[in-house]
Every structure is written in C-alpha cells, then in structure tokens.
C-alpha cells in the first residue's frame, strides 16, 4: 500500500504522455525491492514522501518547499541548492532534500556506462530521482542530505571526471546543440566553443561573480535547436555571410518529386505534390527567392538566414562557406520585469579557437554588468534601463543597421489578479496553519 494517498497525482498518469508520477512510483518500487542490495545512504522512502508533499501542494495550491540554504561543497558557491520541506513531520524523507547540478558534457554526448555510473551514485547517496535536461538544461540530482554532498562531489570529480554545474548568481552551466558532430547545418563547432568557455570561465561558474544568473547557450545555426535566442543572456547563433549554395539539379529533383521535402519529415499523411512556390518561395519572410525558368534564384543580400528553405530542401540548398556566429544578448524568462528575446549585438564574428575575439566581447559585457547591474537585474534588464546605445559604448561596437532590427515578442502569459481566486491578498495566519516557519 502506498505511504500517502495521491489521487490528484494518480490522475496525471492517465494522460497520453509519459508521466513523472509513474517514473517516481517505479523508483519507489525499485528502492523497496533494492535488488542490488545497495546500502542506501538516505531513507528508502524518500520518493514516497516526494509524491506525498507534491499531492499536498496540489491540494493547497501552494509549494511546501522553503527558500534556499547555505549548503554546498567546499570552494564552490554554486552547483548545490539547499532545499527544505515546511512539513518535515508529515514528510520526513524530504525534510532535507538538496539539489545537485551536474555540468553535462558538451552536446549531451555520453555513454550508457557514464549514465549508469551517475545513476548508481545517485541511488546510493541520493533519492534516485533525476531531472535530465529540463528547463535548467543540465543534469539535476534531486534530493539528498548535507552529509552526502562532499562524498558525491568527490566521486563525481575523481572517478567520473565530472564537474558540478552552475546555480545562484554565477555563470550557469553552458549548453549547446550537437553541432558538427551530427548536423550539416552547424556553422561552427558548438561543442568546442561551449567546452572552451566552460573551462575558461571556471571561476565565474563556481563562485558568485554577478548581480544575478548569467547564461551562455550555443546554437550551430539559426534553427536555434537550443533556443539560445530566448533562453540565454548571451546567445551564440551560427550563421554565414556569403551565399546559400544551390544545387539546381537537386532543386529540380525536389520539384519533380524525386526527393522528399523536409528530409522526409511530416510523411504521416499525403500533402499532395511538392509545390516550391507555395512551400518555399511564398514562405520566404523577406521575399528574396524566385524562379527563373527551372532555376531557383536567391537575392542573398535580403536573406535573413531564417533557414526555412534549407530545412525544406536540404539536398538542394546548403549553408554558405564563410561561416561564423552572431552574438545576441539579453534574453530572459519573466522572473523580474517581463520576458525578453535576445537583441543582436554582433552580427558576425569568426568562431575559431582560441576564440579571443569572442572572449573580449564577453568580458566587456560582464565588466559593464558587474559595475552597473542592480541586485537581481539580468543583463537584458540593464540594457533596457540604460539603453542599447550604452551597451554598444561599453563593448566598443559601432552601431550598425542590424542593431535596429529586433525580434521581440513575449511568449509568456501572466495571470491577472481578477483571474485568480482570492486575488493577491491572503490571510497570513491561515497560511501559517499549513506552513511552519
């Protein structure tokens, strides 16, 4: 029988998607059975109490986690986040439930052996529950006790060749797409740049340096699979500055139906014969494409590298040869002062080791933000407060037409007070009945 009744969580399992509730129940069964006779270093019933406290939070519509703590590993100001439950007597297994962030390998390439070792370590010294590459992006170990932290850190760094990730007012774990390892669209070696900057800025990653969090993310091309343009304070998006390469024979083959468009994707239904006018030329955002007879023409000066035509006809159209990246700054989620997309700072820069030009831009931006940023003010908010022109002054980048173009929209929805039962007001005494200090 389950330790806690969880009717609302159980309902989540009935949906069409894989459920984290089912995953946690699987871990509960595994820890109870303990088939490998692991000497569990924290209580076996931690996953049961996780479901219990979550059910209570669903019931109350409020969290039962307290805010932060002083726990960590020696010498590091990030990578470990103290978490305590405000109902420790009801859920003793999660009374102390600290999070560890693990800096994932660039491109998220790892072997099953490595994953197995991580999971074995976490089963032994933690809750066994992980969050792989969620919104934070890195590998998250969810829930352990303070005594286990140094042991886990030692094992990770000495036997798994693995460092902790970033948290708090630090550089966060840099994240990149798989890049040149598997993708023909990659305009630079995302893994090399991500790994190089991770090593270069170890101090910023492990010890608080900034007014608030700072994120780097690396996309090899403007398809932006990592969504760096929306998710990082400094976004590195691959691009090229010469012409899209056209194979006119392959264009004809697409038109003639000999090559499936979109690399064969969307093949679940019959969309009719491929129509280059409707599906490519007519969808070009700048209208820079046209047919001359059976030849596809592109006015590359007008191309904004949206990638649509290349995605639809990858065998006919290829990225140019003069490759590098664009740097965009200031994207953020809406914690304070609203969501923002990145603004273009450097339209084109070569991405070649040792990346000195890129590091120069990064450090100038940091110097400005460290000096002028208010507490908990993200780079994007400082840019808004002091102006993009000030950023250009501080980075010594000349204003140019590309700076005027800015893709901005708010992808988030906020609740209004009248839409929330009881509004923003609440009875503190009533709250304290359920949330101990």
């Amino acid at each position: 029988m389950a330790k806690h009744e969880t009717p609302m969580l159980d309902q989540l399992e009935s949906g069409p998607w894989p459920s984290f509730v089912s995953d946690i129940k699987q871990e509960i069964a595994h820890r109870k059975a303990n088939p490998n006779n692991v000497e569990l270093q924290i209580p076996a019933d931690v996953p049961e109490d996780i479901l219990g406290v979550l059910e209570l939070s669903f019931k109350h519509g409020r969290t039962h986690w307290k805010h932060g703590g002083i726990v960590g590993v020696f010498g590091y100001g990030g990578g470990v986040i103290g978490r305590y439950c405000d109902q420790p007597e009801m859920f003793p297994g999660v009374a102390h439930f600290h999070t560890i962030r693990v800096n994932q390998p660039a491109g998220k390439f790892y072997t099953t052996e490595y994953l197995r070792k991580l999971c074995d370590l976490w089963e032994f010294r933690g809750s066994g529950i992980t969050n792989m590459h969620g919104s934070t992006g890195d590998i998250i170990f969810l829930g352990t006790h303070t005594k286990q932290l140094e042991e886990i850190f030692f094992e990770l760094t000495h036997n798994l060749n693995q460092d902790l990730g970033g948290s708090g007012s630090n550089l966060r774990t840099p994240a990149d797409c798989i890049g040149m390892a598997r993708c023909e669209y990659a305009c630079y070696d995302t893994q090399d740049l991500c790994h190089t900057l991770t090593n270069e800025y170890q101090d910023e990653l492990h010890r608080p340096a900034f007014p608030y969090k700072f994120k780097f993310k690396f996309d090899g091309c403007p398809n932006c699979c990592v969504a760096s343009i929306a998710r990082s304070d400094m976004s590195f998006v691959g691009t090229w500055r010469d012409d899209i390469k056209i194979d006119q024979e392959a264009v004809k083959a697409y038109i003639g139906g000999e090559i499936a468009p979109n690399g064969g994707a969307h093949a679940g239904r019959d969309w009719g014969p491929f129509d280059i006018q409707k599906e490519v030329i007519g969808l070009c955002p700048t209208g820079c494409m046209w047919m001359e007879g059976d030849k596809l023409m592109i006015d590359n000066r007008e191309c904004t590298r949206c990638m649509h035509c290349i995605n639809v006809m990858p065998r006919a159209l290829r990225i140019g040869d003069d490759r590098g990246l664009s740097i965009l700054v200031g994207a953020k989620a809406p914690i304070l002062d609203g969501a923002q997309m990145g603004s273009l700072l450097v339209p084109f820069i070569k991405a070649e080791a040792p990346y000195d030009e890129i590091k120069e831009v990064i450090e100038k931006v940091w110097d400005w933000w460290m000096e002028e940023g208010k507490n908990r003010e993200r780079l994007g908010e400082l840019i808004k407060r002091q102006g993009f022109q000030r950023l250009l002054e501080m980075t010594e980048i000349e204003p140019m037409p590309q700076h005027v173009q800015e893709p901005r929209s708010n992808p988030y929805i906020f609740w209004k007070e009248e839409e929330v039962e009881g509004g923003w007001e609440r009875d503190v005494n009533e709250f304290r009945k359920y949330h101990l200090r």
């Binding site: 002083i70 990030g78 102390h96 303070t146 007012s169 010890r207 608080p208 007014p211 460290m370 000096e371």
Partner: protein, 79 residues
C-alpha cells in the same frame, strides 16, 4: 588596495549591520567604491574559502554573510 585591510573592512562592516545577516555581492562593492568589482569579488570568494564568510543560495540568487551568523543549517534539524 591592501587585501588584509579590505578583509578587515568587510568583517567590520558586516559586524556593524544589525537585523541582516546575508548580503548581495554588490553590497561588498559598495564598501570599496574606488575598486573594480572583479577585485572585490575575488577577495570575497577567497574569504568564503578561508571560512570567514559563507554563501547562502536560493538556487537563483546568491547572498553572502559572516560564517555562523543568521539562520544556519542546524535550524533545519539536519544532524
């Protein structure tokens, strides 16, 4: 700037603060308006390593205070 003098200033300033035990990094910069933030940041982080100061983190923000002052892990009954 003499680093030892800076350490003394930091400790004395924090000890003089009443009712507050955790501070933003910028609060330390304000103690040395003539110095580069990076210099102060490095001293503060060194003082944490030496055990004079300690970090507190919410997960998204980091605060820093004198070690052992204010709410401690012991208050969470984790022995």
């Amino acid at each position: 700037m003499d680093e030892n003098e800076a350490r003394k200033t930091i400790v004395a300033t924090l000890e003089g603060k009443k009712g507050k035990s955790k501070f933003y990094l910028k609060d330390f910069y304000a103690m040395f308006p003539e110095e580069k933030p990076r210099t102060i940041k490095n001293i503060v982080n060194k003082m944490v390593g030496e055990g004079t100061l300690e970090y507190w983190s919410s997960g998204s923000t980091t605060l820093i205070g004198l070690k052992g002052v204010g709410k401690q892990a012991g208050a969470e009954h984790e022995d």
